[in-house]
């Protein structure tokens, strides 16, 4: 027992150490630059976030420069201030926010790449598209648009959402990802940002009610296509490929990857923050600021909720499936086998999306319910097989003995077979629960904010790739460990024989 705790603590320590480290050396005076010209950047060092697309953008567009990897944009800006690098690269929206937050930081124009961003609407819904375009044109001309940009992108304190009264007509279903800083993000636990304000203002403009659901970035397009939502905005880049599937409004924002430099670079490059300082800063930024730990707590709650209810469903369904599989009727048996083959052979993400986008496409059933159903249905196949194989291990002689005493078939099952198969099945059954808990990390695909999604949301706000992920990993690890401990405890106290042996 003790060794398990030690191993958890050890793993946690290693993970956090990796997180808090990182940094590089270098530095030349780039602060004087105001314009971006690729040829100025020969031999310069530019930060690129590990695992992003920016190292490729640097190589393609600024071939003379050298990418230097950082775990987060904040780390990159810190290094820039200490003259260890010459510039950071990011999309301009995020940079605008950091420019607002860091006096001395300056964004260079023109951008390294240019992207246009639009709102996604289903191909068939020309009426809505026209209305949206009309709305975009209107806010651009009457100054609302500039107000919005200023509110969300150019101030350090992103001001709270203005109160916008929505209309009273039919409901518009709006989807967004919640993970693009400035546009759609969680501030103090609620959705805010340019895209959100845009949606509210549009609802007001069109005199309709608004219903917002949050989904994974990639899932939004499918949701628009399948009619699950009417329109989606999450700073979508307009690409030819996406246009095949959906329609985009006229661009409502034009931006791209941009470089930012620091005007007055200090020379105290030797002051590299220590491990503890780094850790403390990451901790504050990712968990304390804006009460971000609440996102993690809410996410964990959602993950647990789905797991527990899905598992109850899976257990009930499992008995059903097992009953079918062990039935004397060949048709029922075939149905059972078919169910198991289909459900076991379908990846849970695919099953989840089919349930959400196809089976319940037109219904207003909540994502959480869909997740419980999908996980329950998939779990039933596994649990059914677990129960069946446990029942098969119970020797038939005992059942025969019970029958010979006068027990009915059902009586013999509940007196002899069932109690013993529970004992046999328990360890595998428990593993299935833990497995399901971890598998719920994919529910972000269908607009549920679970633990994993909470990490993504924090990541999108802090531009810190590692700390939120590691935190999420640790929360999973610790929760699963607590569950395992709890299951073992239950197993111990319910097993009379084990308890007796202890005495």
């Amino acid at each position: 027992m003790k060794s398990r705790y030690i191993s958890i603590i050890f793993t946690a320590f290693i993970m956090l150490f990796v997180t808090a480290c990182g940094g590089n050396n270098g530095g030349a005076d780039s602060g004087r630059l105001t314009q971006f010209r690729a040829e100025d950047w020969d031999g310069m060092k530019i930060s690129a976030i590990t695992g992003g697309v920016y190292d490729k953008i640097i190589l393609d567009n600024i071939p003379g420069a050298e990418p230097v990897y950082f775990y987060s944009l904040s780390d990159g800006i810190e290094a820039l201030k200490n003259s260890r690098i010459d510039a950071v690269i990011e999309d301009d929206a995020a940079l605008r926010l950091h420019v607002a937050n860091n006096p001395g930081l300056r964004m260079l124009e023109p951008f390294v790449t240019i992207d246009e961003y639009g709102v996604a609407v289903a191909k068939s819904n020309d009426e809505l598209l026209a209305e949206l375009n009309e709305f975009i044109a209107q806010i651009k001309s009457d100054g609302t648009y500039d107000d919005m940009l200023k509110r969300w992108l150019d101030t350090a304190e992103q001001t709270p959402m203005p109160d916008i009264p929505v209309g009273t007509g039919e409901t518009l279903r709006f989807g967004t990802s919640g993970i693009v800083d400035g546009f759609t993000f969680y501030k103090d636990g609620t959705l805010a940002g340019f895209d959100i304000e845009f949606a509210y203002r549009f609802a007001s403009f069109a005199d309709k009610r608004l219903d917002i659901s949050m989904m994974d970035h990639g899932a939004l397009i499918i949701a628009v296509q399948s009619g699950k939502i009417d329109f989606a905005a999450t700073l979508f880049t307009i690409t030819e490929e996406r246009k095949q599937a959906i329609n985009f409004t006229d661009p409502y924002y034009i931006g791209g990857a941009a470089l930012a430099v620091f005007e007055e670079q200090t020379d105290n490059a030797s002051v590299a923050p220590g491990f503890l300082q780094n850790f403390k800063k990451s901790f504050e930024r990712n968990l304390i600021q804006e009460d971000r730990w609440k996102l993690i707590a809410d996410g964990l709650q959602a993950s647990l909720f789905i797991t527990i209810f899905a598992f109850v469903l899976a257990t009930l369904g499992g008995f059903g499936v097992c009953g079918l599989r062990m039935s004397k009727n060949p048709i029922l048996r075939a149905i059972g086998s078919f169910y198991i083959t289909i459900l076991r052979g379908t990846p849970i993400v695919v099953l989840l999306m089919i349930t959400f986008y196809i089976i319940f496409a037109k219904s207003s059933i909540s994502g959480t319910t869909v997740a419980v159903i999908a996980f329950g249905a998939s779990g039933a196949a596994f649990v059914g097989e677990i129960i069946r194989s446990a029942i098969l291990t119970i020797d038939k002689g005992q059942v025969e003995a019970a029958r010979s005493m006068g027990f009915s078939k059902i009586g013999a099952f509940f007196t002899v077979t069932f109690p013993q198969s529970v004992r046999v099945a328990f360890p595998t059954y428990m593993s299935e629960f833990i497995y399901m808990f971890k598998m719920t990390s994919v529910v972000g695909y269908i607009s549920i904010m679970d633990l994993t999604k909470a990490g993504d949301i924090i990541r999108s706000r802090t531009y810190d790739a590692f700390f939120p992920l590691i935190t999420v990993a640790l929360v999973y690890l610790i929760t699963a460990s607590v569950m395992i401990w709890l299951f073992n405890y239950i197993n111990r106290v319910t097993d009379k024989r084990l308890r007796r042996a202890k005495k």
Partner: protein, 359 residues
């Protein structure tokens, strides 16, 4: 108590029981013997419908069990069954094994059921094991618990399906002793067994089954001493003889001797008699030419008055004991007769002795 009319049972194409008609009266102790695969167990399991017969009628206390309308679960409460593989409920303590039927099926309060259970455990000598679990018991103990569990239902008849076949020879005695005591208490029983001594001692009637039916039946003294029909006679003779075929120089000596010892134990031969038989078989096995398959047979008559070992071997006519070698002298000493015959390429050497003779 039980009436069986024209019972038939087939598994697919295979007819196991081809028509049995018999009755079992209250207080009778029926033992069913016969070669393997003649449907002895199937017959027993058809009596309480664990393997319902394909055709025919089984009546118990006036109720037709083959009738779908009969509540078989009610009937089974009065027909106990003891299985070859004990079939104790592995997740329950011995005490719970004895209580579960009483409380759940007979509606007896737990305290009363426990009292009965403890009394029954005392009668089978296992009071100390009340809190043990089945896997902590020896085979013999398990079977005694199984018998006690059966008794806890207060049955009118008990069916024993080879109750000692899965036991070590050393444990057979403790189980047969319990069954014998039950027999004395007047319990009606039907027993399938391979323990012939036990069958002979305990039964009021023997059913010899062969060819898918009751081939011959009668009191034990008739069936075991003077059976009327040919197959019965052959079976009774066979169980009184031990035969081993040697096929090469490297035959399994250990197996031959071990089976012989088991045979002697099973038939409760005197130590001296068994020892002599082993010595003669061992020496003859050494002396026999083994170029062709050779047979060794050890047999004795019902009254155990004269033991016989016969060695049959191929090759030229040769009496392997007709010399003064050490082995030959050892075998011949204290024997009643040694005869050698030779017929169509086979030597047949017969050694007989009286088991009470000193070697």
């Amino acid at each position: 108590m039980i009436t069986v009319k024209n019972m038939r049972k087939s598994f697919g194409e295979h007819d196991v029981i081809k028509g049995i008609t018999t009755t079992i009266e209250k207080g009778e102790i029926i033992t069913i013997i016969g070669p393997s695969g003649t449907g002895k167990s199937t017959f027993l399991r058809a009596l309480n419908m664990l393997d319902p017969p394909t055709d025919g009628v089984v009546e118990f206390e006036g109720k037709n069990l083959t009738d779908k309308k009969t509540d078989i679960n009610e009937i089974r409460k009065k027909m106990g069954m003891v299985f070859q593989s004990f079939n104790l409920f592995a997740h329950m303590s011995v005490l719970d094994n004895l209580c579960v039927g009483q409380t759940k099926l007979l509606g007896i309060p737990r305290a009363e059921a426990e009292e009965t259970a403890r009394e029954l455990l005392a009668t089978v000598g296992l009071s100390e094991k009340a809190d043990a679990y089945p896997d902590q018991l020896s085979g013999g103990q398990k079977q005694r618990v199984a018998i006690a569990r059966c008794l806890s239902m207060k049955p009118d008849i008990m069916l024993f399906d080879e109750p000692t076949s899965a036991l070590d020879p050393t444990m057979v005695g403790e189980v047969t002793a319990v069954i014998k005591r039950l027999a004395q208490s007047g319990m009606t029983m039907a027993i399938v067994t391979h323990e012939m001594e036990f069958a002979r001692n305990v039964s009021t009637r023997i059913l010899y089954m062969d060819e898918g039916g009751i081939y011959e039946e009668g009191p034990p003294d008739v069936i075991f001493v003077n059976p009327k029909r040919e197959k019965t006679r052959a079976f009774i003779h066979r169980i009184k003889s031990y035969r081993y075929t040697i096929t090469s120089e490297g035959f399994d000596f250990i197996e031959m001797m071990n089976n012989l010892i088991l045979f002697c134990e099973t038939n409760a031969l005197s130590k001296a008699g068994a020892y002599k038989a082993q010595l003669i078989v061992e020496e003859l096995a050494n002396l026999m030419p083994k170029s062709e398959p050779a047979d060794l047979t050890f047999s004795f008559p019902e009254n155990q008055s004269l033991f016989t070992v016969t060695a049959e071997y191929g090759g030229e006519a040769r009496d392997i004991l007709a010399n003064d070698e050490m082995e030959a002298i050892m075998v011949k000493s204290g024997t009643e007769s040694v005869t050698h015959e030779y017929e169509s390429g086979r030597n047949r050497l017969t050694v007989t002795w009286k088991p009470n003779q000193k070697i």
